[in-house]
Symmetry: C2
Amino acid sequence: MTNYAKMILGIINRSDEHMTAEQIFQTLRKTEPKVVLATVYNNLNLLCREGRIRKVSLEASPDRYDRIVKHDHLVCRKCGKLTDIRFTDLCDSLKGQLEEEILGYDLRVFYLCPTCRKQGGEECRGGLKVK
Amino acid sequence: MTNYAKMILGIINRSDEHMTAEQIFQTLRKTEPKVVLATVYNNLNLLCREGRIRKVSLEASPDRYDRIVKHDHLVCRKCGKLTDIRFTDLCDSLKGQLEEEILGYDLRVFYLCPTCRKQGGEECRGGLKVK
DNA sequence: CTAAATGCAAACTATTTGCAACGAT
DNA sequence: ATCGTTGCAAATAGTTTGCATTTAG
C-alpha cells in the first residue's frame, strides 16, 4: 500500500460519513496539496479490488466509499441520507434459502429519516433524492 | 400515460432481462423509429416516479430498469449478471429490528453464477464486473 | 534499475437539460 | 388555445485513460 492509499483508507475508516470521491479528495488535499482527483479514484478502485473498502452505488448521486465492517444501510427516501444499521440473523436466513454459496450481500432499507418525516414533501421512489 | 410510456412499461414488464435505457431505446426504436434516447430517459424517470417500475443502480454499469413485482436480486460477482430471486420472511425480520416505518428495501446477494463458477478468473468485490 | 504510482489533461459514458416544434385535449 | 410531450443538440457529472514524469524498493 502506498502512502496515499493508506491515507485514503484512513479517511474512510475514520469518518462516519459515507464519503464521495470528491469529499475524500478535499479531505486528503488538506494535508497533501499536490494530490489530484484521478489519483484518489485510482486508489479507491485499488482499495475496492483489495477488499479494504466497499463502494456504495446510489441512484442520482455519486458513489460513496464505506468501511468494510459488516453493516447494512438505512436510506432516507426523501433526502437520500445514508445511515448504518446492523440487521442480524439475515445471513443465516439467506443461506437457508439459497443452494449456491453466498459471497456477500448488500441490503438497503428505505425509510424517512427523522428530519424528513417532520417536513413532508415528495418522496422519491427507488430510494434516492432527485437533485 | 402517453403511448411511449405505455410501450416502455410494456417492454420492461415483458422482458426477463434487466434492461438498460439504451437497450430499451433500441427495442422501442424497432416499432417507433422516431423516438430518441432522451425521451426514453424522460419516460423511465416518469415511470419510476409513479412507482410503475424500479431502477437498479449497479456499479460500473448503467442503471437497469425492472418490474416492480416484489423480488430480490442475485448478482454474479464475476460477470455482473442479475437474476431474480425471492427471499421470504425477510420483511418481517426487518420490521422486528427497526422502530421506524419501513418503506421498502433492496437486497442484492452476491454469488458466482453457474457459468462463471466453472471458469475461474478474478472476482470483483463490491458486486460488479469492471468492463 | 525497474516497476509501479502520480499529476495532468483529455476522453468517455451515462444522464439531464433547454428550447423550439408538435400533439392531444 | 393550452399544456404536456417530443426531438434535437448541447451540457453536465462522475469517472477513467493515456502518457510523460516522479518515486520507491
